[in-house]
């Protein structure tokens, strides 16, 4: 019943998008609407906004003449980027978690570190990517040299750690004074207070933070691929296909669809993490006595 309703909502959302897109193409000015030299509405011609059925049709045709159908290529690229995103997300979440715990534990760390944590996110990603690539180029892990995709993962992690660090810090600080005093009265030290009180209390803050981190990791991975020129992922496809925008305008949209699917898959996977840990939230029914 609930699943059917969710499915219905999804179908409705897709339908609304289709109606908006094709509707705008129908009524919009093919050259866009320009007022006082500022374009306030985009061009509606087939070059800028291909018909949705053209995009769907493009998915089934080969990428290059005689090659594999483009939907396979796009899905493979999305899977490649998913792997990079997953590694970046895991590293970012772990780093964010450790930072949050350290900031909670030591007031001085919070005061000293938090401004830099916030500052870190104002550095433009495009400027950062070549730096990371430059620093890491000569690294080796024993017999394994540094790989290009690792650079991209580091960039994804760089974006993903931030919401986790900030959200988790809020969560760790969320227990009321009474809860902390209670743990003190049980002679529990910092570590046991962390395990029994602060960590479980932080979960409602952690999960929204992880969702943000998931989205940030996708952005980081796609932009990282583009700015480091890493091959094999969806970011690379977007760049390659957009160069053909004039001759084959539907092509770049297939890569964008792949990126959107990647984002949805990551959001779904992160959402799954929540299920086993938030049982107590799902059955709240007040008994009065």
């Amino acid at each position: 019943m609930k699943a059917a309703r969710t499915l219905g909502a999804v179908a409705l959302g897709v339908l609304a998008f289709v109606v908006l897109w094709e509707g705008y193409k129908l009524v919009g000015n093919p050259d866009g609407t320009v007022i006082l030299g500022v374009r306030i509405l985009p061009r509606a011609d087939d070059l800028s906004m291909p018909h949705l059925y053209d995009m769907a049709g493009r998915l089934t045709r080969p990428e290059l003449a005689g090659g594999r159908p483009i939907w396979i290529v796009v899905l493979q690229a999305a899977a490649f980027t998913l792997g990079i995103t997953a590694v970046g997300f895991a590293i970012g979440a772990l780093v964010g978690l450790l930072l949050a715990v350290a900031m909670q534990r030591f007031r001085i760390v919070e005061r000293g570190l938090l401004p830099y944590v916030i500052l870190s996110q104002t550095v433009p990603l495009v400027a950062l990517a070549p730096l990371v690539a430059g620093w890491s180029g000569n690294l080796r892990f024993g017999p394994y040299p540094w790989q290009d995709w690792m650079t991209v993962s580091v960039i994804a992690a760089y974006l993903a750690f931030f919401p986790v660090a900030v959200g988790m810090l809020r969560g760790l600080q969320s227990p009321p004074a009474a809860g902390v005093e209670l743990m003190t009265s049980y002679a529990a030290g910092w570590w046991r207070t962390l395990l029994k009180l602060r960590l479980p209390a932080s979960l409602p803050y952690l999960f929204p933070a992880l969702r943000l981190a998931g989205a940030a990791a996708v952005v980081g991975a796609v932009v990282g691929e583009i700015s480091t020129g890493t091959r094999g992922g969806i970011g690379r496809l977007i760049i390659e296909y957009s160069r053909e925008a004039t001759s084959d305008p539907a092509k770049v949209y297939t890569a964008m669809l792949g990126a959107a699917i990647l984002g949805l898959v990551v959001a779904g996977l992160v959402g799954l993490l929540e299920l086993p840990l938030m049982r107590h939230r799902r059955r709240v029914e007040v008994a009065t006595l």
Partner: protein, 261 residues
């Protein structure tokens, strides 16, 4: 042995700064074994601070405190007392049963033992059927009973309570007061009880300690000698006499005069 001895305790917050506050000034208090003592006074008189000193949750600036014959810090490490606050402070991610088990878990008690003990405590407060519920599914009064069960789970010789019924309606409050008295009598626990309510203090206590603010100090101690502690006592002469006495002591205290005990 006496349950609590507080001698010469002074607490100064923000010492040496512009916002320096003397929360407690030279307080002496003794709680005998099995005795029920209430601390009553207007906001800011330091009654909660005094309770936290006894529980070693806050260090006094000067003075000493012994609980069950040992320094307060050691008593805390040995879990010699149970504590309950105005907010039940239950962990919402744990079931009622697991909330009561928490102090036992931290003591390293085996799973089987602590489950049995928690069931016993829930029976004592009349919530056996709700063992598997989460706190959010219970009413405020029930949550407070769970908090009391949790405070009593380690069978502490001393119970510290900071306005535990403050957030409840009058009817629930009176029922829980009776229940608390029965439990304390059954378990022979000494109790220090912080409250705003004169009637609550008189009904529950063997002794009502009246405090006054700026600086926080004990102004009067009223001995309450009620014959029984059932609900009928709330209409008795002795009860009203004690209520009047405490009320006058509070008035005297807030006007800044030092009443003599």
């Amino acid at each position: 042995m006496t349950a609590v001895v507080v001698s010469g305790v002074t607490k100064v917050f923000n010492a040496g700064r512009a916002d320096e506050v003397t929360a407690l000034s030279d307080v002496d208090l003794t709680v005998g074994d099995g005795e029920f003592v209430s601390l009553i006074g207007p906001s800011g008189c330091g009654k909660s601070t005094l309770l936290r000193h006894i529980g070693d949750l806050l260090p006094p600036t000067r003075g000493s405190i012994t609980v069950a014959g040992q320094p307060a810090a050691r008593a805390r490490l040995k879990q010699e007392y149970g504590i309950a606050f105005q907010q039940s402070g239950l962990f919402e991610w744990r079931t009622v049963q697991r909330n009561v088990e928490l102090p036992l878990e931290l003591r390293g008690m085996s799973r089987v033992d602590r489950q049995a003990r928690a069931r016993e405590m829930l029976e004592l407060v009349g919530l056996s059927e709700f063992a598997g519920h989460y706190p959010a599914q219970l009413s405020g009064g029930m949550q407070q009973r769970v908090a009391i069960a949790r405070a009593l789970a380690v069978s502490p010789p001393l119970l510290l309570m900071d306005e535990p019924f403050g957030a409840l309606d009058e009817m629930t409050r009176e029922r829980l007061q009776s229940e608390l008295l029965q439990i304390c009598a059954k378990t022979r626990t000494s109790t220090v009880f912080v409250t705003h309510s004169i009637s609550e203090a008189v009904f529950l206590s063997d002794r009502v300690v009246v405090m006054s603010p700026r600086p926080g100090r004990i102004t009067t101690t009223v001995d309450v000698d009620l014959l029984s502690r059932d609900d009928s006592v709330r209409q008795s002469e002795k009860y009203f006499a004690a209520v009047t006495e405490v009320r006058q002591a509070l008035r005297g205290g807030t006007q800044g005069r030092t009443a003599t005990p």
